[in-house]
């Protein structure tokens, strides 16, 4: 049994006159420790899919089973618990708390976890040992994204969900970030899901899920994923 299973998951936004189907009976599976890349045009439903997986949103119908548990049936409290223990999120726009230093941002996220990694260590791992006491505004975008990743990783989650983590970054920095994610996936055997518009990146994935019109259009299994260093775009 796969670690993550989407079974005919639909998400319909009822806008009154119109109904927008963001997800339309999507079904796919992801195994534990897999590095997955989700591709698809804008509005295809990627973010929606990831949000549901991350327990931030609920599906209209269908089942999402993570580690054998049906999270679609979770109530609000269980969802929060699920988020706080199992999920690490990385956003396009970092979403750091401006008022906290890098270290404090990490500390903020671990203060609610039981099984966390030392914030300082994590920050060292993401290469920010010298910038730990800087506020987000004092860091570059890439550094901020690294803080965001560190913040997620420090929680020691089961999976890391990244919604266009490099969307706001230049090529080089983006690459650094992807490298960090790859490293995390490979070294920590963490399930990492990355949404991107850059299909080149899909080469690094174990599995590529292509979305279109709210449906997995294609699921490609990469037998030999490339290291990010090998990929150029």
């Amino acid at each position: 049994m796969a670690y993550i299973e989407f079974e005919k998951v639909s998400k319909v936004y009822d806008m009154g006159e119109v109904k927008i189907t963001a997800l339309d009976e999507t079904s796919f599976k992801i195994d534990e420790g897999e590095l997955v890349v989700i591709l698809g045009p804008s509005g295809a439903g990627k973010t929606t899919c990831l949000n549901i997986l991350g327990g931030m949103d609920s599906a209209t119908s269908g089942k999402v089973i993570v580690n054998g548990k049906e999270i679609t049936s979770y109530n609000e409290k269980e969802l929060i618990k699920y988020r706080r223990n199992d999920i690490g999120f990385v956003f396009q726009f970092y979403n750091l708390i401006q008022n906290l230093t890098a270290l404090e941002n990490v500390e903020l996220s671990v203060q609610i976890c039981d099984n966390y990694i030392e914030p300082v260590k994590v920050l060292k791992d993401v290469g920010l040992e010298n910038r730990m006491n800087n506020f987000p505004s004092q860091l570059s975008g890439g550094e901020q994204q690294r803080v965001a990743i560190a913040r997620s990783l420090a929680k020691n989650p089961r999976m890391l969900l990244c919604d266009e983590p490099t969307g706001a970054l230049d090529y080089k920095t983006g690459k650094q970030i992807l490298k960090l994610l790859e490293k995390t996936a490979r070294e920590k055997k963490m399930t990492v899901v990355i949404i991107t518009h850059n299909s080149a990146i899909s080469q690094m994935a174990d599995k590529v899920i292509k979305f279109k019109n709210g449906k997995q259009e294609e699921i490609i299994i990469n037998e030999n994923p490339k290291s990010i260093d090998e990929i150029e775009w």
């Binding site: 931030m56 979403n95 708390i97 401006q98 008022n99 404090e104 903020l108 505004s137 004092q138």
Partner: protein
């Protein structure tokens, strides 16, 4: 085709997008305008209400009262002063009536067209002198109803002045002369009766009064000014001074008239009485002569009676003597009678031998003596045993009845000789001789001859010798002869006895007769004596009566004389007194009152003034807070509209066109709020405030002053504040370059704060506390504004309580700390100290302080001057301590101590010399030796010496008392019975009354609580709104990270709570200060409020703020819960 202005559309969309922000602006505007308009208009409306009430009911402008009453001439003279004046005389009088076992003092006034009117609440107007309308409170307090009858207790000697003493209540009224609500404990002014205060007022028809002078003159000055407006007061002062100018002349005239009239009255009375006395004197004199006559008469009759008495005594003696004599005679007679009887007895004994009794013997003797016999004697001689007795009796009857008695007698006597001869037998020897002998015998002398013959023994012997010895029975005959001789002897003897008896008897009879006569005469004499005695007794009795009568008359006379004398003396004394009284008729004093002398009016005005003062201060806070909140709120909106403004700019709109959106937006918000606020402030708030005062004041109809200008000012002020703040905020944004605007504004940078440098402290903070503290410093501007807002609310709330506290404390403190008496008693100042001592001699009176109180003036303000009889006792009842050092102050000779508020208002310092003037405008200057702490009223204190050196002789007219609590009621009622006690005012009553007055401030406090609460809500709401909206992303991030709602709440709320706490703490500090200012503003001249806020008020304020915070935060909790992570994180900030 005209295009729609899409900028306006934008404005409207903006409103729709965030209706709560719009609403909060509108509420700010609403609150500001309501408070600004409402409180100010409340004061104006109340004045207008009063003015209308007065105008509608023809309330007097000036009232004149004279100690001697007023006349028609006074009315006319005043009328002539100014043609704007309506002047009318009127009557009023206080009566004691008994109602439910309690004496109630009722003031009865006169209904007339000109007089101050009243409002008839129920029933009808009185039609005649037996009907009355009374104030509503009287019915309630005395459980009376319309139709009940009340009985007036008219004072002695006043009966003629009032035509009825039994009046039926026909209606229930309210008069503008009495503004204070009668249902409270306050009275209706002072009275000379009972406990010195009028309890209720009433009206009846003029006809009820039968007084030839007016008790008051009311003056209405025709004007269109509002009461108490400057113009009005000036006009009244002008008229008043005009009246004052003729006052002296009027008083003099009236006084002279009265003196003249009184003198005339006394003269008349004197004459009348003198006549009466003269008559009485004459009567007395005639009574006196009559008495003298009577006395003489009695004297005369007494002496004649005495003479009579002597005579009577004499005759009594004589009678006695006679009686004795008669008794002797009687006893003699009795003795002789006894002798006679025994003699008769003897004879009878003798006779019985011959079968004769004394009577027979008498007859026989008569026969023998040849005495003619009566028929009965003859009959008695006839032996009853003879056969012809009846015939013989008949013959005798016949003879005697036919007048033959003499003849018969002669016959009998003649026959006797023959008879005797015939009896002699012829054959006997010597017959012839015998016959001759017999014939010789003179019959008439026979008895004696025979007897004498027979008595002589020789004759017997002769007889014997005559007897022939030879006859056979010679011896017998001799024997017979002897026997005869013997018998004759015996008979003679008997007859002698009888004769003697006869003689004795005759003598006895005679004596008896004499005795009887004597007795008769004695009886007569006795009778006469009795009669005289009776006469004498009755005469004596009469004399006694006469004497008694005389005595009585004399007493009567003496009494009359005495009475006459005392009455005359009294009368003379009375006349003297009356004349003295005329001399003592005090020169009249006029009291010219205007409305400002009416304490009800003044307390209403001071209420208005307090409200007005509040109306100047609170709006400042409300508008101030409105400005702060608008600034925060708008800057947030501007921030949100950043890119929109950039876009508009890039589209080519100029600054004004863009600004227009915000002007429209804020104007709409302001106007919506202001319109509402103006409505509430115009219609509702004044009504509420007025109704609050309705507990205290009784004014039937509420009138709006229609001061629209105030409303406009309020709206404009609100616009200036809110629109101004909006435009100010927008301006700073609009000025920026388009490109900058289009780029998202970098979020406020996180910064280390100073506190972090102190590692020891900083590290101790928990993580979220660190964030909170940093956040607070990060959003400094907003936090400051919010704190200011909260400070404003707290301050307003606290100052509301401060007003209440200060007032409540004031009254209590005044009577607990300064004037510590239980009762103050007005006493007659004409009585001596000893008499005053006597009044307050009860042992239940623990302390007493004698004072002389009078009202004096300093500049235009009045204050009480109190001189103490014995200043050493002062400290037991009144505390005189320096207002700042609290050291005890001592009265010094010829120096005064003034009270703090008075000193403050007039800027008087120790050692200043101030000039005061008394009732007669006489001026006195004193050095101020101290300023004493005091809270209620304004006073000047001095000792007796100072008083006597500067004023007149000290006279106690007011006594402060401390009374044993249990006895207080009893003592007071005893005091009130004393005629020298003019009135008693108890501290507890005063406390109750004053607390009643000030208690109406509670509604003001409530309104402030409501409004500052509303303000607090808006402030806190805005704070939290902005806080949340600014940090939505942060919150969403936390949610994504898996923070529980509770953790998020505490993360966010901590800040708000800290800000609120800071705000409240600062607010308390500012509020304490602000409250002080408010209290000072609200303060009235007669009182010094205590600027001390109680702990309870602090606690209440804090609790209210906590409550508001909690309510807002509960809302925040739900807002936080609703924040959508996905949405919030989707877009770029």
């Amino acid at each position: 085709m005209k295009l729609k202005n899409r900028i306006v559309t934008l404005s409207l969309r903006e409103i729709k997008k965030n209706i709560k922000r719009f609403a909060s602006l509108a509420i700010l505007s609403f609150l500001g305008v309501t408070i600004f308009v409402g409180i100010k208009l409340a004061s104006e409306d109340m004045l207008a209400t009063l003015d209308t009430y007065y105008d509608d009911n023809n309330m007097y402008d000036i009232r004149i009262i004279s100690t001697l009453g007023l006349t028609k001439n006074d009315v006319n003279e005043i009328k002539m002063l100014d043609d704007r004046l309506t002047v009318y005389g009127s009557h009023s009088k206080d009566f004691i009536i008994k109602s439910n076992d309690e004496n109630v003092i009722l003031k009865i006034m006169e209904i007339s067209n000109e007089n101050t009117g009243f409002i008839l609440n129920e029933g009808r107007l009185p039609k005649n002198k037996d009907e009355i309308v009374v104030e509503s409170a009287m019915l309630i307090k005395n459980s009376l109803k319309i139709g009940d009858t009340i009985f007036l207790d008219i004072e002695d000697g006043e009966e003629e002045n009032f035509k009825s003493n039994e009046l039926t209540i026909v209606g229930r009224i309210t008069s503008p002369e009495y503004l204070i609500n009668g249902n409270g404990s306050s009275g209706r002014g002072s009275s000379s009766l009972g406990n010195g205060k009028v309890d209720f007022y009433s009206y009846t028809v003029s006809d009820f009064f039968n007084i030839d002078y007016y008790t008051e003159i009311n003056v209405n000055v025709n004007n269109n000014y509002k009461t108490n407006s400057q113009e009005y007061n000036e006009l009244i002062d002008e008229v008043k001074s005009k009246i004052e100018k003729i006052e002296e002349e009027r008083k003099k005239q009236h006084y002279n008239e009265i003196v003249k009239e009184e003198n005339k009255k006394i003269d008349e009375k004197e004459e009348e009485y003198l006549n009466e006395f003269n008559n009485a004197k004459k009567e007395l004199e005639s009574a006196h002569t009559m008495l003298l006559n009577g006395y003489e008469e009695i004297y005369a009759s007494e002496s004649s009676l005495n003479a009579l008495k002597n005579q009577l005594d004499n005759s009594k003696e004589e009678i006695k003597r006679n009686e004795d004599m008669l008794k002797n005679a009687s006893s003699q007679l009795n003795a002789s009678k006894e002798q006679l009887e025994s003699a008769i007895n003897d004879i009878n004994n003798e006779l019985s031998k011959y079968n004769l009794d004394y009577e027979n013997a008498l007859v026989i003797k008569k026969v023998i003596e040849g005495v003619s016999l009566t028929k009965e004697e003859v009959i008695s001689l006839i032996p009853k045993d003879i056969k012809i007795y009846d015939n013989v009796i008949n013959v005798i009857d016949y003879i005697y009845d036919n007048g033959y008695s003499e003849a018969v007698g002669k016959l009998i006597n003649g026959i006797n000789k023959e008879l005797i001869i015939s009896l002699i037998p012829k054959e006997i020897e010597n017959y012839d001789k015998i016959v001759d002998y017999i014939k010789d015998i003179d019959i008439s002398k026979l008895r004696k001859k025979v007897i004498n013959y027979l008595l002589d023994s020789k004759n017997i012997e002769k007889v014997k010798s005559l007897v022939p010895k030879d006859i056979p029975k010679y011896n017998n005959i001799i024997d017979v002869i002897d026997k005869c001789k013997l018998t004759v002897d015996r008979a003679l003897e008997l007859f002698n006895g009888i004769d003697k008896i006869q003689e004795g008897y005759e003598k006895y009879i005679e004596g008896l007769k004499e005795l009887n006569y004597g007795n008769y005469q004695l009886e007569n004499g006795k009778k006469e004596y009795e009669e005289y005695l009776n006469y004498y007794s009755s005469a004596i009795y009469q004399l006694e009566n006469g004497k008694k009568e005389y005595e009585e008359n004399l007493n009567k006379y003496n009494k009359n004389l005495e009475e006459y004398n005392t009455r005359k003396f009294d009368f003379e004394e009375n006349i003297k007194n009356a004349r003295e009284k005329i001399n003592n008729i005090e020169y009249p004093k006029w009291y010219i009152y205007n409305r400002l002398d009416d304490s009800d009016y003044v307390s209403f005005l001071s209420s208005i003034e307090s409200i007005e003062n509040v109306s100047l201060i609170f709006p400042v806070v409300f508008f101030g807070v409105a400005i702060f909140i608008s600034l925060i709120s708008m800057s947030r909106m501007a921030f949100e509209n950043r890119s929109e403004i950039g876009t508009l700019k890039s589209l080519g709109f100029n600054n004004n066109e863009i600004r227009f959106k915000y002007v429209v937006y804020s104007l709409l918000a302001t106007l919506v709020g202001a319109a509402l606020g103006a409505t509430v402030g115009y219609f509702l708030l004044p009504r509420i405030i007025f109704n609050t005062y309705g507990i205290l004041f009784e004014i039937p109809v509420f009138i709006y002053s229609s001061d629209i200008i105030q409303v406009f000012i309020g709206i404009i002020l609100s616009m200036l504040c809110i629109c101004g703040a909006t435009i100010f905020t927008i301006n700073s944004l609009i000025k920026e370059k388009t490109t900058i605007l289009l780029r998202p504004k970098a979020p406020l940078k996180g910064k280390k704060i100073l506190l972090e440098r102190i590692k020891g402290v900083w590290n101790r903070f928990s993580f979220s506390n660190k964030v909170t503290i940093r956040n607070i410093f990060r959003y400094k501007k907003r936090v400051c504004m919010t704190i200011l807002g909260i400070v404003g609310c707290t301050a307003v709330l606290l100052s509301g309580y401060a007003i209440r506290d200060s007032v409540v404390n004031l009254v209590a403190t005044h009577f607990e700390e300064i004037f510590r008496y239980d009762d103050s008693v007005y006493v007659n100042d004409k009585i001596s100290k000893e008499e005053v001592d006597k009044i307050f001699a009860s042992s239940s009176i623990k302390e007493k302080l004698y004072t002389s109180v009078q009202t004096v003036k300093f500049k235009s303000s009045e204050l009480e001057l109190i001189a103490f009889y014995d200043e050493s006792k002062l400290s037991k009842i009144i505390t005189l301590k320096d207002k700042s050092s609290e050291e005890e102050l001592k009265l010094q000779d010829n120096k005064i101590i003034v009270t703090s508020k008075f000193a403050k208002v007039h800027k008087i310092n120790v050692n200043d010399i101030i000039e005061i003037s008394d009732v007669n405008n006489k001026k006195y200057s004193f050095e101020v030796s101290g300023i004493a702490q005091n809270y209620l009223g304004n006073f000047i204190f001095m000792n007796r010496k100072t008083y006597e050196d500067n004023f007149e002789k000290y006279k106690t007219n007011m006594v402060y008392l401390k009374i044993d609590e249990k006895e207080e009621e009893k003592i007071i009622s005893e005091l009130l019975e004393n005629t020298n006690v003019l009135g008693v005012s108890s501290t507890s009553d005063t406390l109750e009354r004053l607390n009643g007055i000030f208690g109406s401030l509670d509604t003001i406090v409530l309104i402030l609580v409501i409004f500052s609460g509303a303000l607090a809500f808006v402030v806190l709401y805005n704070l939290s709104y902005i806080n949340i909206s600014e940090r939505q992303r942060e919150i969403a991030t936390l949610k994504v990270l898996g923070f529980y709602p509770k953790e998020i709440d505490s993360y966010i709320l901590k800040e708000e709570i800290i800000i609120t706490i800071l705000g409240v703490i600062l607010g308390i500090i500012v509020g304490t200060w602000f409250g002080g200012i408010i209290v000072e503003t609200v303060e009235i001249d007669m009182a010094q409020f205590i600027k001390k806020i109680t702990l309870a008020s602090y606690i209440k304020t804090i609790l209210f703020m906590i409550l508001f915070t909690v309510i807002v935060n509960i809302r925040v909790h739900f807002v936080l819960k609703k924040i959508n992570m996905i949405e919030s994180l989707k877009s770029v900030e």
